[in-house]
C-alpha cells in the first residue's frame, strides 16, 4: 500500500510500530509534491531540506526512545497567512512577498512542539479574501479533481494538497467559509472551530471577529488529531477561550446515540443545484439509518447572512489592512519616481492656476502610502478595503456597520433557538460544485453569494465542518455542512466520523492520481 493512501492516524501507528520511518514519509510527501504540484499548484513554497533534516532528527530521537510529540514525523502543510519565524509569510500578496516574520504564530509553535514537520506553505486568495484562490498574486491553484476548475478558497492550496494526497494534514483559516468551502470543492474534510477555540496570534488578520484557524484532512479522525494540537488558550490572543481542550482524537470514535439533526428548507431549495440537494438528502438518510432523528428547523435570518457578513468582514478588513503603509514592513513604492510624479502634478496645477486642487494634493507621505497600497494590493483586496472604508465612514456607519452588527445578533439568536431542538444542523456547504477557473472572477457579487451557507457560522461564532458526501455527474465532489453549538467540536467530529464509517466518499481519489475513473 502506498504511503499516500494512509491517513495521519495510520501513519502514526506505523511510525510507532517501527514499520516506517519519518524520512520515508517526508520523502514520499516531497515526491508527491514533485509529481503533482506542477499541475495543482497547492504550494507557494516547500522547505525540502529543513523537512528532511527534521525527519532524520525525529527518527534519531525515536531510536533513542525519547518522548515524542503527538504528530511526530508527520508532514503538515500550512496556509501562507500563518506566520513562520524566519521563513516568508506572504498571504499570497505582492505586499508581503518578501516579508519574513520575527515570530511564529501560536499554532506554528504548537505544531513544532508536537514534532510535526512543516513541509511548506500553501496558496490562498490574497489576504484570504476570495472563494477560489484566484485572487492570489503569487500562484494559480487548480482543483485536483478537474484542473480547469477552482479548488475553492481562500484555503484553496490547503485543501488541494490533501486532495492530491501530498500531505495528510493541512492547516487553514476560515473567516466566511475558507476552510469548509475548499474542503467541499476538493472532496476533503475540514473543520472551522468555535471562535476563540484556536489562538489567532500570528494569523495575519483579515476580519478579527470572524477569523478562525482549523484543520483539513482526509478524515474526521485526522481533523480531530490536528485540532487537538492546534486548540487551547493563549494569553497572546485576548479572544481565545480559557477552557480545557477535550481529547478529540480519542472521543471522535465514540458513536453518538439519540442524535437529533435539523435541516433548513431554504438550504435545499431554489439556488441550490439539484445534484447538491440530492447528495445532502442522501446524507441525511445515512444519518437516519445510523439512528439519528431528523427534523426541520428554521433560520429566518439566514438570507441576510451574506449582506451582513460582507459589511462586517470588509469593515474589519479595511481597519486591519491599514497597517500596510510601506513603512514598517512589506512592499513600498519607488520613492524617487513617486516624488517626481508628485512634483510634476504640482507644477501642472500651478501652471493652470488650480489653487483648490493644489491644496488638496497629497503630501509626499500620503502619496507614498497611496501608491504603495495601489501597487501592493490586488483588485479584490482593494474592493474590500473600499467597501469597508465606505461602510465605516461618517454618515454611513449606522446604516451599514451598526445595522449589520444588529442583524448579526438576530442570526445568532436563530441558531440558539434551532439548537434548542436539535444537536446539529446539516445542509450543503456550497450551492454548486466547483466552478470553472475565471468564471466568476469579474463578478464580485456572484462570488460573494457563493458563501451563502458558510458565513452564518462565522457570524455566530459556531463550529462547523465540511464532510465529503457525494459527486456531481461530471465527477466533482460535494460537501455536507455540519454546524453545532459553540464548543461542541467533539459532537461535530463524532457525527462526521460516524458518517465516514458508513460512507466512503472521503476515500475517493482524484483521477489525476491513478488514471482511474473518479467514481468507480
Amino acid at each position: 500500500m502506498s504511503l499516500s493512501e494512509l491517513t495521519a492516524r495510520e501513519l502514526l501507528q506505523r511510525l510507532r510500530d517501527g514499520e516506517v520511518k519519518a524520512v520515508e514519509i517526508v520523502s514520499h510527501c516531497l515526491q508527491q509534491v514533485d509529481q503533482y504540484d506542477r499541475k495543482v499548484g497547492a504550494f507557494l513554497r516547500i522547505s525540502r531540506d529543513r523537512a528532511m533534516a527534521q525527519a532524520e532528527e525525529i527518527d534519531r530521537r525515536r531510536t533513542r526512545g525519547e518522548n515524542l510529540g503527538k504528530l511526530a514525523g508527520l508532514p503538515v502543510a500550512v496556509k501562507d497567512n500563518l506566520c513562520t519565524h524566519g521563513e516568508p509569510t506572504t498571504c499570497a500578496s505582492r505586499m508581503l512577498e518578501h516579508f519574513v516574520p520575527p515570530h511564529d504564530a501560536t499554532v506554528i509553535s504548537r505544531l513544532k512542539a508536537a514534532d510535526a514537520i512543516i513541509v511548506g506553505k500553501t496558496n490562498l486568495d490574497e489576504f484570504a479574501m476570495g472563494g477560489s484562490t484566484e485572487t492570489s498574486a503569487l500562484g494559480r491553484t487548480r482543483n485536483p479533481w478537474d484542473l480547469e476548475r477552482i479548488p475553492g478558497g481562500s484555503s484553496g492550496g490547503a485543501a488541494a494538497c490533501v486532495a492530491a494526497r501530498m500531505v495528510s494534514l493541512s492547516v487553514g483559516s476560515d473567516t466566511g467559509g475558507s476552510i469548509r468551502q475548499p474542503a467541499a470543492l476538493c472532496g476533503v474534510t475540514g473543520l472551522k472551530p468555535t471562535y476563540g477555540r484556536v489562538s489567532r496570534f500570528g494569523l495575519v488578520a483579515f476580519a478579527s471577529s470572524l477569523d478562525q484557524i482549523g484543520p483539513l484532512a482526509q478524515t474526521a479522525e485526522d481533523c480531530a488529531l490536528l485540532l487537538e494540537v492546534l486548540a487551547g488558550h493563549d494569553p497572546k490572543d485576548a479572544t481565545s477561550i480559557d477552557r480545557p481542550v477535550p481529547a478529540y482524537s480519542e472521543t471522535v470514535r465514540q458513536p453518538l446515540k439519540g442524535l437529533r439533526i435539523g435541516w433548513v428548507r431554504e438550504h435545499l431549495g431554489e439556488g441550490v443545484s439539484p445534484e447538491v440537494a440530492a447528495a445532502i438528502q442522501e446524507a441525511i438518510k445515512v444519518f437516519q439509518s445510523l439512528g439519528a432523528e431528523v427534523e426541520e428547523v428554521e433560520l429566518p435570518h439566514a438570507r441576510y447572512a451574506v449582506a451582513t457578513y460582507y459589511i462586517i468582514a470588509c469593515s474589519e478588513a479595511s481597519s486591519n489592512l491599514a497597517r500596510y503603509d510601506g513603512v514598517h514592513y512589506g512592499y513600498r513604492t519607488d520613492e524617487k519616481a513617486m516624488l517626481l510624479e508628485l512634483a510634476e502634478e504640482r507644477r501642472l496645477l500651478q501652471q493652470q492656476g488650480k489653487t483648490d486642487a493644489l491644496e488638496d494634493l497629497d503630501s509626499a507621505l500620503v502619496r507614498m502610502y497611496r501608491k504603495t497600497r495601489a501597487e501592493g494590493f490586488g483588485a479584490e483586496v482593494k474592493r474590500r478595503i473600499m467597501l469597508g472604508t465606505y461602510a465605516l465612514s461618517a454618515g454611513y456607519y449606522d446604516a451599514y456597520y451598526l445595522k449589520a452588527l444588529k442583524v448579526r445578533r438576530l442570526i445568532r439568536r436563530d441558531y440558539d433557538e434551532a439548537f434548542q431542538k436539535v444537536h446539529l444542523i446539516v445542509g450543503p456547504v456550497t450551492p454548486t460544485p466547483a466552478f470553472k477557473l475565471g468564471e466568476k472572477i469579474n463578478d464580485p457579487l456572484a462570488m460573494y453569494l457563493f458563501d451563502l451557507f458558510t458565513v452564518g457560522s462565522n457570524l455566530a461564532g459556531l463550529p462547523a465542518m465540511s464532510v465529503p458526501c457525494g459527486f456531481s455527474r461530471d465527477g466533482m465532489p460535494i460537501g455536507l455542512h455540519l454546524q453545532a453549538p459553540p464548543l461542541e467540536e467533539e459532537l461535530l467530529l463524532r457525527a462526521a466520523h460516524m458518517f465516514q464509517q458508513a460512507t466512503d466518499w472521503h476515500l475517493r481519489r482524484p483521477p489525476l492520481l491513478n488514471g482511474q475513473a473518479a467514481i468507480a
Partner: protein
C-alpha cells in the same frame, strides 16, 4: 450555465419577496446610483488607495452592485436589538501587569523597506518637498 445559476441565487434572495428580483432601495437620498464616482474618489483617499480612472469606474459599478444587494438589510426590523460585535462576548480579559521583553530593535527593523541603523525612514512630513 454556471452564470445563470449565479443570477438565480441573486434572484432567490429578493428584497421584495413577491417580485423575485432585486429591487433598488436607496439608503441615502434619492440618487439613482448607490455610489457615485466622486464618492469612490473620496473613499479612495480615506482608504489611502490611488485608483486609475479605469479602476475608479469599475469600482463604482461593482461596489454599486454590492451595496445595492446590501440594502436587503433594510427589511429587517432591528429596533431594540443590541449589536453583536463578537460571537463570544468576553469582557474584562486581564493579565498581570508584568514587564516582558519586547521585539528586539533589529528584528523590528529587519523587514523595513527603508531604514537606517535605528529608525524607519519616510518621505519628509513637514515643509515642501
Amino acid at each position: 450555465m454556471q452564470r445563470t445559476e449565479a443570477k438565480w441565487i441573486i434572484q432567490s434572495c429578493p428584497t421584495d419577496p413577491t417580485s423575485g428580483s432585486l429591487q433598488k432601495v436607496s439608503l441615502f437620498g434619492d440618487s439613482d446610483e448607490m455610489i457615485s464616482l466622486a464618492e469612490i474618489e473620496k473613499v479612495a483617499v480615506l482608504a489611502r488607495l490611488l485608483l486609475t480612472p479605469a479602476e475608479a469606474q469599475m469600482m463604482t459599478e461593482q461596489l454599486g452592485k454590492v451595496l445595492e444587494y446590501m440594502s436587503l438589510l433594510n427589511e429587517v426590523n432591528t429596533e431594540e436589538v443590541e449589536p453583536l460585535a463578537h460571537a463570544v462576548e468576553l469582557t474584562n480579559v486581564f493579565r498581570d501587569d508584568r514587564v516582558t521583553a519586547s521585539l528586539d530593535r533589529e528584528a523590528a527593523l529587519a523587514n523595513a523597506p527603508h531604514r537606517d541603523d535605528e529608525c524607519y525612514l519616510v518621505p519628509a512630513v513637514l515643509g515642501e518637498v
